[in-house]
C-alpha cells in the first residue's frame, strides 16, 4: 500500500514540472556552506600546485637544463663535423686533381715566435715524408717540409722570410722568386723591369725549382713599383692561403716530373757515392 502511494506521488509530481516544494529556501540556506567548502578545497589545491608541487617542477627544470646543454654541445659537435667534412671533401677533390702521391696531414701547432712562420704537422718519415717536399692546400702553396721526425714534421710557410718559391705570372709568364715578406705578404723578387705585371695578376709556381709542381696557385699581385734605378721591379703578392686558418694540408711525396737537369745530375751523383 505504501509502495503504491509513493509511485503514484512521484509520477504525479513528475508530470507537474516542478522539482520540489520550497527549493528556494533550501538553496538559500545551503548554498553559502557549499560555496565556502568549494573555496576551501580550491585554496588547498592552489597551495599545493604553486608551492609544494613546484619543488618537483624545479627538479624537472634542472634536468631539462642539463639535457639542453648536452643537446647544445651535440649540435656544436655536429656543426664542427659538418665543417670538417666540407674541408676534407675539398681537400679530397683537390687531391684527385694532383697526379702524384700525396698524404693529408693535420696542423698541430704554430711557430712559438711571432717573427718566424712555421707549423708542425702530424705526419713524419714513417708516412713517407722527406725533407724539402712541398705542402699545399686547394687554395694554393703552403710551404716546404724542413725538418722531420718519425711522426711529425716542421713546415716552413711561404710567408716566412727564409722561404723562396720559383714562380711566374700566369698572364705574361714573367718569372721571379716568391719570398716571404712582412705582415703576411710575399715579395716577388728578381722580376725584370721589362715584364708587364699589373695589380691582380695571378702568380703560380713555375715548377723550375724542382720542388713545387708547376701551376700551383701562389697569390695575387697587390702592388708593383718600378724605380728609376735597378733592373728589377718590386712586386708585392698577397698569398691565396690564409695561414692563420690552416687546419689540414696535403704533402706531395713524389717530386714533379719537370725537375731541372742539374737536379737529376745531382741525384745521380749522390747515388753513385
Amino acid at each position: 500500500m505504501l509502495f503504491a502511494f509513493c509511485v503514484i506521488g512521484l509520477s504525479l509530481s513528475g508530470k507537474r514540472g516542478r522539482t520540489s516544494y520550497g527549493s528556494g529556501a533550501a538553496i538559500y540556506f545551503v548554498a553559502p556552506f557549499q560555496k565556502g567548502f568549494t573555496h576551501s578545497i580550491r585554496f588547498v589545491k592552489n597551495l599545493w600546485r604553486h608551492y609544494f608541487f613546484l619543488a618537483s617542477v624545479a627538479k624537472t627544470n634542472d634536468a631539462l637544463k642539463r639535457e639542453l646543454s648536452h643537446a647544445t654541445e651535440r649540435v656544436n659537435q655536429c656543426n664542427e663535423t659538418e665543417l670538417s667534412n666540407a674541408r676534407l671533401r675539398s681537400l679530397l677533390n683537390f687531391r684527385e686533381t694532383i697526379n702524384r702521391q700525396v698524404v693529408a696531414a693535420e696542423v698541430i701547432s704554430k711557430d712559438p715566435s711571432p717573427w718566424f712562420k712555421s707549423i708542425l704537422i702530424d705526419k713524419g718519415s714513417s708516412d713517407g715524408l722527406k725533407k724539402s717536399v712541398p705542402v699545399v692546400i686547394p687554395e694554393g702553396v703552403v710551404g716546404l717540409v724542413t725538418d722531420i721526425s718519425t711522426h711529425y714534421s716542421k713546415v716552413l710557410l711561404l710567408v716566412d722570410q727564409n722561404s723562396a718559391v720559383d714562380a711566374l705570372v700566369q698572364r705574361t709568364r714573367a718569372r721571379g722568386i716568391i719570398k716571404g715578406g712582412t705582415a703576411g705578404r710575399c715579395l716577388f723578387k728578381y722580376v725584370l723591369r721589362k715584364h708587364d705585371i699589373v695589380e691582380s695578376d695571378i702568380v703560380v709556381s713555375s715548377g723550375l725549382d724542382g720542388v713545387f709542381p708547376k701551376g700551383l696557385r701562389v697569390g695575387t699581385v697587390s702592388n708593383v713599383t718600378r724605380r728609376n734605378s735597378g733592373i728589377f721591379q718590386e712586386v708585392t703578392v698577397i698569398p691565396y692561403v690564409d695561414f692563420e686558418k690552416l687546419e689540414e694540408v696535403l704533402v706531395i711525396l713524389n717530386l714533379p716530373r719537370y725537375a731541372p737537369a742539374y737536379y737529376d745530375h745531382f741525384k745521380s751523383g749522390v747515388s753513385e757515392r
Binding site: P112, Q161, T182
Partner: protein, 153 residues
C-alpha cells in the same frame, strides 16, 4: 700562444723562467735547464738553429751580472726586469733576422714589441713570484721527506 686572439703577440713564457734562474738559482742548476729549453725551442721554431740557446744564455749571463750590483729580487723591480728581458730577447731575434738573412724589419715590429713589453710589465712579476713560491714549497717538501727518512732510520 697560438689560436687566442688576445694572446696573439704574447711574449715568450720561457724568458721569465730564464730570468728567475738568473736571479734566484745557482749557475750549476741553471745552465743545464737553459741549454735544454733552448734546444727544444730551436727545434720547434723556424729560426736559425742555436738562436734560442744563444738568447737564453745571454739573458742568463746578463741577469747574473746585474744581480752583482743591483738588488733586482725586490718585487717592485721584477716587472721592469721581465720587460727588459723581453726587449733584449726581441732585439737579439730581430738582429739575427736582419743580419743572417736579407730580410727587412717587419712592418708590425713596433706594435708587436710594444704589446709584448706591456704584457711583460703586467704579468712577468707574477710568473717570477710563482716560480719562487713553487721552488720553496718543493724544497720544504723534500726537506721534510729527508728528515722523516733520517728519523725513521
Amino acid at each position: 700562444m697560438p689560436c687566442l686572439l688576445l694572446f696573439d703577440s704574447f711574449y715568450d713564457l720561457l724568458v721569465p723562467l730564464v730570468l728567475y734562474l738568473g736571479i734566484f738559482r745557482p749557475v750549476s742548476e741553471s745552465v743545464v735547464v737553459i741549454l735544454f729549453i733552448g734546444f727544444v725551442m730551436d727545434n720547434l721554431s723556424a729560426g736559425p738553429f742555436g738562436l734560442y740557446v744563444a738568447i737564453y744564455l745571454w739573458l742568463f749571463i746578463g741577469t747574473k751580472w746585474i744581480v752583482t750590483f743591483l738588488h733586482v729580487a725586490n718585487h717592485f723591480l721584477l716587472p721592469l726586469v721581465v720587460a727588459l728581458g723581453v726587449l733584449l730577447k726581441n732585439l737579439i731575434v730581430l738582429g739575427a733576422l736582419v743580419m743572417l738573412t736579407d730580410s727587412r724589419f717587419p712592418d708590425d715590429l713596433a706594435a708587436t714589441v710594444g704589446k709584448q713589453t706591456l704584457w711583460a710589465v703586467f704579468t712577468g712579476a707574477f710568473f717570477l713570484i710563482s716560480f719562487e713560491h713553487v721552488q720553496k714549497r718543493w724544497e720544504n717538501r723534500i726537506g721534510k721527506l729527508f728528515v722523516k727518512k733520517n728519523g725513521d732510520s
